[in-house]
């Protein structure tokens, strides 16, 4: 490899990402120059003329795409390939930022191998351009992009493996009598159990998604016991956020008995509440209003006092695989299918899920219509 001659300019406004990325790339034998914003990035690009630019997209202006546009006007700097670093939200946006076969993007959070593979892929393409021309490079770029798109959409693998590993590890330790400290044993086994819950929920999601995709979602309505079927599960989910010390306030109005497919409606509601828990500040308050109708229907409201959702995202959050995440941490991990599932389930039952304006935070309203007189309701 001729790595040692190559210089990579890394631009990110998050110092921790910049530090980590630079160390990783240097480790692989490249020279690294860093910048903490777009303006500095443009200056450094002109100064050092790097072989590749690795830049965050979301930065105070000029952002990554804007930098790319400005540099492309320059005859020398315009041909420097770009790799954009971006959060996993809206695949289309990312692809639209990529104008040239030499460009690429990588989705945060990424693993080292993936990052280095993408850097090398871009260098390979540039070499192809020199050897076989631009068309060939474009063709390879399109293939690569398609492959990556599939990888993003098949993110389940990782999401399933992590909780499974977190179940197996404590069990293996216990089976091998490796615990010397009873407190530790208790903590590890409790950790295994909470990962069982995680895995169970992911599997429920996969089953629901598959049923939705094949148009055979269960819509048979059964009587719902609010405490047992809904609140108990919600409280269990709240345990995941124990360190945030959230205040959970169920407000249940009197009315008839709710009828809905149990698994489906519970999973849908859990996603709405999980979202509220996830984006609530420490010590925040989440209200869950349940207003049963007279003939099996209900209106559910989930109110939080978190950061809220900007109007331009109010529909996008319901997209499949939408995920609010800007960092490299897995803090907000998940498949990004929660709100999509919630809306799909309510829609399939003839209802709706919408985001409403709240004075503070976010208000989600889910409507389950009354069942029609000829609907069969099972115990």
């Amino acid at each position: 490899m001729e790595n040692d001659k190559r210089t990579i300019l890394v631009i990110d406004d998050d110092p921790s990402i910049l530090l980590g990325l630079s160390a990783t790339i240097r480790r692989h034998g490249y020279q690294v120059v860093t910048a903490t914003n777009g303006t500095e990035g443009l200056e450094k690009a002109r100064e050092v003329v790097p072989d590749l630019i690795l830049s965050d997209v979301m930065m105070p202006p000029p952002d990554g795409f804007e930098m790319r546009r400005r540099l492309s006007a320059d005859p020398v700097l315009g041909s420097i390939p770009f790799i954009f670093l971006t959060a996993r939200s809206g695949v289309e946006d990312r692809v639209s930022g990529i104008r040239d076969g030499a460009d690429d993007y990588i989705v945060k959070p990424f693993v080292t191998e993936e990052l280095m593979a993408r850097i090398e892929a871009v260098f390979r393409r540039v070499q192809h351009e020199q050897e076989r021309g631009r068309e060939e490079m474009r063709r390879i770029a399109v293939q690569d992009m398609e492959k990556l798109r599939n990888e993003i959409l098949q993110n389940y693998h990782h999401e399933l493996r992590t909780p499974l590993a977190n179940i197996v590890m404590p069990l293996e330790l216990a089976a091998g009598n490796k615990f010397s400290d009873p407190e530790e044993q208790g903590r590890f086994l409790h950790g295994a159990l909470s990962n069982v819950d995680r895995l169970e929920s992911l599997i429920s999601d996969l089953i629901l998604l598959s049923n939705l995709d094949h148009g055979n979602l269960n819509t048979i309505r059964q009587h719902i016991d609010i405490d047992n079927h809904i609140l108990a599960r919600v409280r269990k989910r709240l345990e995941r956020y124990a360190s945030k010390r959230l205040e959970f306030v169920p407000v249940i109005s009197s009315g008839g008995t709710i009828t809905a497919p149990r698994q489906e409606i519970t999973q849908a509601l859990i996603h709405l509440l999980d979202n509220a828990f996830k984006f609530s500040p420490e010590g925040g308050r989440v209200e869950f209003h349940i207003q049963p109708g007279l003939n099996g229907g209900a209106t559910f409201l989930v109110k939080d006092n978190g950061i809220g959702i900007p109007p331009e995202f109010r529909e996008r959050v319901f997209e499949r695989y939408f995920q609010e995440s800007s960092g490299d941490s897995r803090e907000h991990e998940g498949m990004g299918v929660g709100l999509f599932i919630a809306r799909s389930v309510f829609n399939a039952l003839g209802g709706s899920v919408t985001l409403r304006d709240g004075r503070v935070g976010c208000v989600v309203q889910a409507i389950l219509p009354d069942h029609s007189p000829d609907d069969v309701v099972y115990g």
């Binding site: 998050d14 110092p15 921790s16 990402i17 530090l19 980590g20 630079s22 160390a23 990783t24 240097r26 480790r27 692989h28 080292t112 992590t162 977190n166 590890m169 404590p170 330790l173 490796k178 615990f179 400290d181 530790e184 903590r187 590890f188 409790h190 950790g191 360190s243 960092g327 490299d328 941490s329 803090e331």
Partner: protein, 130 residues
């Protein structure tokens, strides 16, 4: 270890050696940096599968050496389980579900431990065990 009290000795505040974890940058400034769940550690993580005192990073002869403290879930560097290991800039330390990047931007110190990361034979460094 010649000096029993060496644990608290500062190397230099601006030496350019860090741990990067969960978007936080933690400078390494002590001769011994302890990682674990217990509050007495230098770096405390609330991660359920971590031991109370999980691992230590020792600064010895210009090198940073990661020691596993006989932890229950183990200490890994670049996905390999280790007891002791010399750290190189860009190494990824895994403690349970935590991913910690070791960064050494100090040209003098980084030069001393250049080369591929390797597990150290326990016997070679047994005199410095705690």
């Amino acid at each position: 270890m010649k000096n029993e009290k060496a644990d608290d000795a500062f190397i230099s505040p601006e030496q350019g050696v860090y741990l990067v974890v969960n978007r936080q940058i933690i400078p390494l400034v002590k001769k011994v940096t302890r990682l674990g769940r217990q509050l007495e550690n230098d770096v405390v993580f609330h991660e359920e599968f971590l031991s109370r005192f999980h691992a230590e990073i020792h600064y010895e002869d210009g090198k940073f050496i990661l020691h596993d403290l006989d932890s229950t879930s183990g200490t890994f560097v670049n996905s390999r389980k280790i007891d002791r290991c010399v750290l190189n800039s860009g190494d990824l330390i895994s403690l349970a579900n935590l991913q910690i990047m070791f960064v050494n931007n100090n040209p003098i110190l980084a030069g001393k431990s250049r080369g591929m990361t390797q597990s150290l034979d326990k016997k070679k460094t047994s005199n410095s065990s705690t």
